[in-house]
């Protein structure tokens, strides 16, 4: 086990098998991830998003176990230490940005983060309904909800998608200073400039 910056950091996939109908995405997949920054890449349909969803405990594998710091990611307790931003994790579109962030803070018992709100330029959309946000602003909000509670494990699916230059810069700043473990699924080499980046390449499996 690796101990960095005073906290444990080990995401572990043990003999994971997962299927979508007749297509096997993972079969007896095993990996231990202890690096602070991980970039997952691979062609479309190779299971990048599924891997993140499994790591966040949002989907239960057909077989095997996913744990973070030796605790199953499916437990409520471990959710406190995980943050995810992915297009599959749709945010309640009927709330305003302010209402959603207020709700989210209450659930994770954390303070509002004015700094990142300003950095991402979301302050001006405070009273805009989430459904009415542009793709870029929706992505920023999704990123903000993922990092708001400063999770030990941050999972980001295509985090730079739809972001303008200013927001990309803010994202890079956020990632470079981030104290926890960051796992990014992306086609872009967003994290490559950071130290200790581990690359994981996934291959697309063919239908059985």
């Amino acid at each position: 086990m690796i101990k960095q910056q005073g906290s444990l950091r080990l995401l572990e996939f043990e003999k994971i098998s997962h299927y979508y109908q007749n297509r096997c995405v993972f079969n007896d997949f095993c990996i231990k991830i202890s690096e602070p920054m991980v970039l997952i890449s691979g062609p479309n349909g190779s299971g990048k998003t599924t891997l993140l969803m499994l790591a966040a405990g949002l989907i239960t594998p057909d077989a095997g176990k996913v744990s973070f710091n030796q605790q199953s990611v499916l437990t409520t307790e471990s959710k406190k230490h995980i943050g995810i931003s992915a297009s599959k994790v749709a945010l309640p579109g009927f709330l305003t940005v302010a209402e959603l962030l207020d709700f989210h803070q209450r659930q994770f018992n954390c303070e509002p983060n004015e700094h990142w709100l300003t950095q991402f330029g979301l302050k001006q959309y405070w009273h805009t309904q989430v459904d009415n946000l542009s793709l870029g602003n929706y992505k920023k909000l999704s990123l903000l909800t993922a990092v708001l509670h400063q999770p030990k494990l941050l999972l980001l699916d295509e985090p730079a998608n739809g972001l303008d230059d200013k927001a990309r810069l803010a994202l890079n700043l956020l990632l470079s200073d981030y104290p926890g473990q960051v796992i990014i699924a992306s086609h872009e080499a967003i994290a490559s400039e950071h130290q200790q980046v581990r690359h994981i390449q996934l291959q697309r499996s063919e239908p059985a």
């Binding site: 969803m53 966040a56 405990g57 949002l58 409520t76 307790e77 959710k79 406190k80 995980i82 943050g83 995810i84 992915a86 599959k88 994790v89 749709a90 945010l91 309640p92 009927f94 709330l95 209402e99 207020d102 709700f103 209450r106 659930q107 994770f108």
Partner: protein, 377 residues
């Protein structure tokens, strides 16, 4: 395909989507009340008879009129998106069609969608005018007006509510809720024609007044706030549920007053069963919300048990306006309230554990109660 055919196609598609979405509920109704369905089809004909008859009792007339107008308004509100093609609004607006043609097509769709509920009273009025044509010159004008006023008033009001449900975003809170609720207790104070005039005045007033609105402020918070916001964002479902309860209460209220004293308890018992099922069905919306944002809710540090407990509590709070309505009509005794509570709880349990067959548990409890009461007698 011309513009009219295109709009009709959009309307039919929207209706199909809506019917698909209520398939589960329809199956429940058909399974519960197979014999009541033919009777439901006959209801408009019975209503026309009461509403066109100048000699019908005032309370019965007003209750029937309220029921009919509430029904047509809700029916048209359900079809509003289809008639206006809101789902494809940007595309429809991009077409090079004149405003006049668009308005005519929409009016045609309103008549098509209101169907028998609008055309029935219109045909009846024309038949009555035709039948009374020979008396126009022999009877005083006032007598003719008195005879035709109820059906004429019905046609005017039905036409208004059919159009306003589609084109006016304001809800008829005064004319379809406050006025009829107040009118029940003083139905005999005015003649039918006077009530119709009052109804029209209420419509004019509500058109001028702003919609009553309230701000949520900072309360409630957390999961209650989230669910409340979801309901406020899409109030159609809860609104229709309340209208459904209102319609059911008025109709069974009419039946309650029309049957012998010994049979009244059974009517109230039936109302407690239907009202409990309808009010508990609100839990379907909460469950649908949890399903829709399932990945997000799963990512929160809240257990499923806690989430479901919040949903149940929220649904229970939402039942309060319905309970107030039931108590206002004063049809229930203590036993009926107890029955309502039992049917409500069993329906909630059914929705939580067997959503497709949720009505089985309240039916079983109803049978048990019926058997116990038979044994007691």
């Amino acid at each position: 395909m011309n513009y009219w055919q295109f709009r009709l196609r959009l309307y039919n598609e929207s209706l199909k989507q809506w019917l698909d979405s209520i398939k589960q509920l329809s199956m429940g109704i058909v399974a519960l009340f197979p014999l009541a369905l033919p009777a439901l089809i006959l209801l408009p004909f019975i209503a026309w008879g009461i509403l066109a008859d100048t000699s019908s009792e005032n309370t019965l007339y007003l209750n029937t009129l309220w029921c009919y107008l509430l029904f047509i308004y809700s029916w048209m509100l359900i079809q509003r998106h289809g008639v206006l093609a809101t789902q494809h609004r940007y595309y429809v607006d991009s077409l090079a069609v004149t405003d006049v043609k668009r308005r005519w097509c929409e009016t045609g769709l309103i008549v098509y969608s209101a169907n028998i509920l609008l055309l029935g009273p219109l045909c009846l009025m024309l038949l009555m005018i035709y039948g009374a044509a020979d008396r126009f010159f022999t009877f005083p004008l006032l007598h003719i007006v008195e005879q035709l006023a109820p059906i004429f008033g019905l046609v005017v009001l039905v036409s208004y509510y059919s159009v306003s449900a589609v084109r006016v975003p304001k809800l008829p809170w005064l004319s379809l809720l406050i006025l009829p609720l107040a009118a029940i207790s003083m139905a005999d104070e005015f003649a039918k024609t006077q009530w119709l005039v009052l109804w029209c005045v209420a419509i004019i007033i509500e058109r001028q007044l702003p919609m009553p609105s309230f701000s949520l402020g900072n309360w409630p918070k957390g999961l209650f706030r989230l669910q409340l916001q979801a309901d406020l964002q899409n109030p159609r479902s809860e609104g229709l549920r309340f209208v459904g309860l209102l319609l059911m209460t008025i109709m069974l209220g009419i039946m309650f007053n029309g049957v012998k004293h010994e049979a009244q308890s059974y009517v109230a018992g039936f109302l407690s069963f239907c009202a409990a099922l309808l009010m508990a069905s609100s839990l379907f919306d909460s469950q649908a919300l949890l399903r829709l944002y399932q990945p997000y809710f799963t990512s929160l540090p809240i257990s499923r048990y806690v989430l479901q407990s919040y949903c149940l509590l929220y649904v229970a709070v939402k039942a309060l306006p319905g309970l107030l309505l039931l108590s206002y009509f004063d049809l229930f005794s203590a036993m009926h309230w107890a029955l309502w509570l039992m049917f409500y709880v069993t329906s909630l349990v059914g929705i939580l554990y067997r959503p497709i067959w949720f009505f089985i548990s309240p039916i079983i409890s109803a049978i048990v109660v019926f058997l116990l009461m038979s044994l007691a007698h």
